[in-house]
Subunit: 76 residues, 2 copies
């Protein structure tokens, strides 16, 4: 089975990478960009029947820094 | 309007970060992990009415290295 964990910074946490992308997009002439936030997406190939709770556990223990990041689990 | 660009490595491209995560998950005792691929997700706040073609252009010119990465655009 496949699962996807999307990890993004919590609102209010400074996102220097997002700022850099925003600045670069403006520099390339893309108008109308009001904000940019960058996160991670981790695609997992798992044994069939792996419970969502186990995937959330992986996210809490390794994939996300839960102090400054939130995560979302999707099973595909 | 909001859009999300998901950038992932093309199949066959070596993913050392994914390998490192896979190794760490096994080390933490998570069995049943058969493969891990890591990518980026960029969330954009855009002026209303920004066409998808412009977002794809941003992805081609900046957000993704189209030699080794593919991207997917979602308008939210």
């Amino acid at each position: 089975m496949k699962a996807r964990v999307t990890v993004t910074l919590k609102p209010g946490v400074l996102d220097p990478q997002g700022r850099a992308i925003h600045h670069a997009l403006n520099g390339l002439g893309f108008d109308g960009v009001e904000g940019v936030r960058q996160g991670k997406v981790i695609e997992l190939d798992l044994a069939d029947g792996t419970p969502t709770a186990a995937i959330e556990d992986m996210a809490r223990k390794l994939l996300a820094n839960t102090v400054i990041e939130t995560f979302r689990v999707e099973t595909l």
